[in-house]
């Protein structure tokens, strides 16, 4: 399961790169499909599939990242827009907040270990429930669905990890979300600056 998640995320990344300029061409689709198969070819003295070497570095990816990657691929292949900007922005904000809560404390900032919550804490369950309810009430569906699938996968124990955090978030997803948040903030600042500047130009005598 972990290897499949990694392969899917790699394929989604490749398809994105190949369709950067000219959209999703048949060549890009075939190249992605061939890449997916190639990653399972055994290499080296240990006869490990290529994707297992990637796993050594990437570690296991979260269920959330695998779903987001699959949605991205589906969106490109079908040409149908699946996620609105509002859904995407709220998701990026939630993952950024999650990353800021998780990684500094888990890596030794202070004596409190946020990662510990993931081994079955009422507090984390309650926080996720509240977050899902708030999102649902605001008409957002993507984040509650990612949480729901992450919870189901955790309850079923489909990954090596027994910690709920590992089903919901991973450093690659966190890095991407933080980057998107900075990009979003940059765009908003630029827009404000442009509006303020054009207003100042208009108000000149």
């Amino acid at each position: 399961m972990a290897l499949l998640c990694i392969d899917l995320v790699l394929c989604a990344g490749l398809l994105r790169v190949l369709s950067w300029r000219h959209g999703v061409t048949p060549w890009a689709k075939w190249a992605t499909a061939i890449f997916f198969v190639l990653m399972w070819c055994p290499v080296g003295t240990a006869h490990l599939p290529l994707v297992a070497y990637v796993r050594g570095i990437s570690s296991d990816l979260s269920i959330s990242l695998a779903i987001i990657a699959c949605m991205g691929m589906l969106q490109r292949l079908s040409g149908v827009r699946l996620v609105s900007d509002r859904e995407r922005n709220s998701m990026n904000l939630a993952f950024t907040a999650g990353a800021l809560l998780l990684y500094p404390f888990a890596l030794g900032w202070g004596n409190w270990d946020s990662y510990r919550l993931g081994w079955g804490s009422d507090g984390m369950w309650g926080a996720l429930f509240m977050l899902s309810l708030v999102c649902w009430g605001r008409g957002l569906r993507l984040l509650p669905m990612l949480i729901a699938i992450g919870l189901l996968a955790w309850a079923a124990g489909i990954l090596e990890s027994t910690n709920l955090w590992d089903y919901l978030i991973d450093p690659w997803l966190a890095g991407g979300a933080i980057f998107q948040c900075f990009k979003m903030a940059g765009k908003q600042l630029l827009a404000r600056f442009t509006v303020a500047r054009s207003g100042a130009v208009r108000s000149l005598p």
Binding site: G56, S58, W109, D113, G120, A148, L151, L152, N163
Partner: protein, 453 residues
């Protein structure tokens, strides 16, 4: 598929959400409450100790300060290898099994986990064999592994043997994860390796060195430590299936590593840690079976940034094995304290010591010293040369060498003897067996020599 809140998709999403929270909530409710430590009873063991005949073997010798006697022999038997981080378990028939890592150098890709078994009557260690290598781990874990180290072997509460070891896919030791395997035939064969997931950041930087402790509900408490960005000690709780169920950080342990837990009661335990800044032996306590730990404090014993080991004997005495000198690993000693007493003012039992612990040894003297002991313990000329070359490669500069007796591991066998294994000059693993009830001479007598039969 669309994530707009309308229609059948919306109802399906709502059902999925309710189901997910219900199942996750049920799983959280099934979580067993933390159990007290499993404590061994004292009286039976003291009896057992008295019943065992005390045989004086040719390998018996006096300690360097002449205060006590012990048997000593080498465990590892591959000349020229860099060996380190041994641990020990008693098998059901009374034999001892040691494990350690061995290779061309620490962190090299040819490092393997080696094992050997000792006969308790003759005190002879058998030929060493390979337990795990990098390729085996890669195939079992389905991921690339660059290097491995620090094997810790112990008996699980269910009677099986477990081995935990550190392995790295990327970077140095700070990028380590822990892999484990189980044996139900006393270490003859092992299960496929499994990964312990203990960190959210690529599951890196959890390492193991200390002996595990048991809980009354069959869970295991594995003392581990973190090294990436900052250092700290932790206790991982592992269930009977080998999965992590909790992890408790030792507060204030930043800069400390390699915790060693001494269980003194069903709710009480002390933890001692190596100082990453080479200041002092660090300590913390629990009074609620490891649910919480007191803030880490420095003890009065110096620690030269070196590993330690500990054991609580069946009679309740607490023992630590450590390097008591503040700046190097040239002295290895045992500390003993009674139940509830402190280690702070005890007299160390010196197991091995350089003749000049304050100064480095010249290369010529170093080679002579090592060759002398290796030959006295049965090494041939060629073997001694290979062992010395390995030690020189790791511990010598152009002019001088530092002697090293490090990375101890302690165990008490059912016959009452205390067993210590440690790294001898990074070239061999040495085993010391001593009677913990023997009289400890008040004043130094003679210097250490292998006793003549």
């Amino acid at each position: 598929m669309n994530f707009r809140p309308s229609g059948a998709w919306d109802r399906l999403a709502a059902v999925l959400l309710v189901l997910a929270f219900a199942l996750a909530g049920w799983k959280i409710l099934q979580r067993a409450p933390a159990s007290p430590f499993a404590v061994q009873s004292g009286s039976a063991s003291t009896e057992a100790l008295k019943l065992q005949p005390r045989v004086s073997l040719p390998s018996q010798q006096l300690s360097p300060d002449g205060r006590f006697r012990f048997d000593a022999q080498f465990v590892s038997s591959s000349p020229g290898q860099a060996v380190h981080a041994a641990s020990l378990v008693e098998l059901s028939d009374g034999r001892l099994r040691a494990v350690w890592f061995s290779g061309s150098r620490e962190g090299a890709r040819d490092v393997t986990i080696q094992t050997s078994v000792m006969d308790p009557v003759s005190l002879r260690w058998g030929a060493e064999s390979t337990l795990f290598d990098r390729q085996q781990l890669q195939q079992g874990l389905w991921r690339y592994i660059k290097k491995l180290g620090n094997p810790v072997i112990a008996r699980a509460p269910d009677g099986s043997l477990c081995i935990w070891m550190v392995n790295v896919s990327l970077g140095g030791w700070a990028g380590s994860s822990i892999t484990w395997a189980r044996s139900v035939d006393e270490g003859a064969t092992w299960s496929a390796p499994h990964r312990l997931v203990t960190s959210p950041f690529l599951n890196i930087s959890t390492l193991v060195k200390g002996a595990p402790v048991s809980f009354q509900d069959g869970q295991i408490g594995l003392p581990v430590y973190h090294e990436f960005i900052t250092k700290f000690g932790e206790m991982v709780r592992i269930n009977a299936q080998g999965q992590v169920v909790d992890k408790i950080r030792i507060p204030g342990s930043q800069t400390s590593l390699q915790p060693v837990v001494l269980v003194t009661g069903s709710e009480t335990a002390d933890v001692y840690m190596r100082s990453g800044t080479a200041t002092a032996l660090m300590a913390s306590q629990t009074t609620d079976a490891g649910k919480t730990w007191s803030s880490t404090r420095a003890s009065t014993w110096p620690n030269p940034d070196s590993a330690l080991a500990g054991v609580v004997t069946q009679a309740g005495a607490r023992w630590l094995a450590l390097n008591p000198a503040p700046r190097n690993r040239e002295v290895l000693a045992l500390l003993q304290s009674g139940p509830g007493a402190s280690f702070d003012s005890v007299t160390p039992w010196i197991v091995e010591s350089s003749a000049t612990p304050q100064a480095r040894t010249s290369v010529q003297d170093y080679e002579r010293l090592l060759t002398q002991e290796l030959k006295a313990r049965g090494a041939s000329e060629d073997q001694a040369r290979a062992y010395v070359a390995s030690a020189r490669r790791q511990l010598c500069g152009e002019q001088s060498c530092s002697q090293e007796f490090s990375y101890p591991y302690l165990l008490q066998s059912r016959d009452g003897y205390l067993h210590l294994v440690y790294t001898w000059h990074r070239t061999r693993i040495k085993h010391v067996r001593l009677d913990p009830l023997q009289p400890f001479q008040a004043a130094p007598a003679v210097t250490s020599r292998v006793a003549t039969p």
